[in-house]
Symmetry: C2
Subunit: 214 residues, 2 copies
């Protein structure tokens, strides 16, 4: 059972630990301490120990953690030890790039269906998928065990598509549309928004190379 | 001058304030208080007041903020009142989707050059750009005033490409490759990593619909 008492900011950091531990293990580090993890992730050892303490006791005082054990535990806590099935909504340019994104499958995230509102796109082939109309969403979600919806429609349609996905039984939304959608109750939304990332980057760049907009 | 005493987590939140204020202004709210901003962003009013206090005094006790003034100040702090020029490295499927991403230009982020290491791609047209070889990177960065590099190469090449960009004068990196690159000194890196987003989502989804990987 996920404990909703763990702050979301902590949960969001766990995949970083999983990634760092995977690398450390591949490099042959069978034991790891919070200093080593911290120096990889630019975080204080105290922060890492505090984050992990929400989930139990993984190491012995002063001896660090068994890398393999901690990695397995964190993957289990995050439910990364199972396959997750997703559907894509919106098969324009961005949607086609997402279907072909090579990073999902190795991590057991599989896009098993694609939908579009445009009748001209329904029935076309994208990668190994045949694009379906939105009227088939509900049945497909149930039949295929889909729990994640990847939203790649224009901003103006995104809120409506997200609500449709949720009402058809999808609980997790990965949103690529450039807006901050309202999350229906009981859902988890993650926004992929490159503009937001750029807008916090320029703060640090403005003393160098920016071009005045005259 | 950017003050490096402002914690990065605060800087990263400012674009959210900019977006919320833009919407509020469009809706006709000429004044806004930290309660209203907080309820839009699911943050406590105290957190918002503390974040803003790093940059000065924007409102009068009990009267809230002038929306237009606060928005203009925050855009100036983040250096969003100027044009930023970027180059793309890697014009595979993902790179082509990025060039065509409709969200950059309205926010004055312009991709003005595209590069690829593959000689077969050099000279081809992507959108309104002609793909250039990496040997032209340094000259183009200087001539066009490019300060941001968008990296869309495979993970195995990303670290090398990032270091090349930095040594050729690019200070900000928007990285789409699925890895956590090491940032050369004096640079700002933002990673766009949908897998990381999914991996913190499944924590909340695991009690419902996941499929056992047998």
């Amino acid at each position: 059972m996920p404990s909703f008492e763990v702050p979301e900011v902590v949960v969001v950091r766990l995949p970083l630990y999983v990634r760092a531990l995977t690398t450390l293990l591949a490099e042959g580090s069978e034991m790891v301490n919070s200093q080593q993890l911290g120096s990889r992730l630019l975080m204080t050892p105290a922060q890492i120990r505090k984050d992990l303490s929400y989930f139990g006791k993984f190491g012995k005082q002063g001896r660090g953690y068994n890398t393999r054990f901690l990695l397995r535990e964190l993957r289990q806590i995050l439910a990364l030890d199972m396959e997750w099935r997703a559907c894509l909504v919106g098969v324009g340019r961005l949607g086609r790039a997402i279907i072909n994104y090579p990073g999902f499958a190795p991590e057991a995230f599989n896009i098993v269906a694609a939908f579009d509102q445009d009748p001209l796109r329904v029935g076309t082939e994208i990668g190994h998928l045949t694009v379906q109309g939105m009227s088939e969403l509900s049945v497909t979600v149930e039949r295929r065990g889909i729990s994640i919806g990847v939203v790649a429609v224009p901003a103006a349609q995104a809120q409506e598509v997200i609500e449709r996905l949720v009402s058809d039984g999808v609980r997790g939304i990965l949103n690529y549309a450039p807006l901050a959608p309202k999350a229906p109750a009981g859902t988890v939304i993650r926004n992929i928004d490159p503009v937001l990332s750029l807008q916090s980057m320029t703060y640090y760049l403005r003393d160098c190379l920016g071009v005045s907009s005259a």
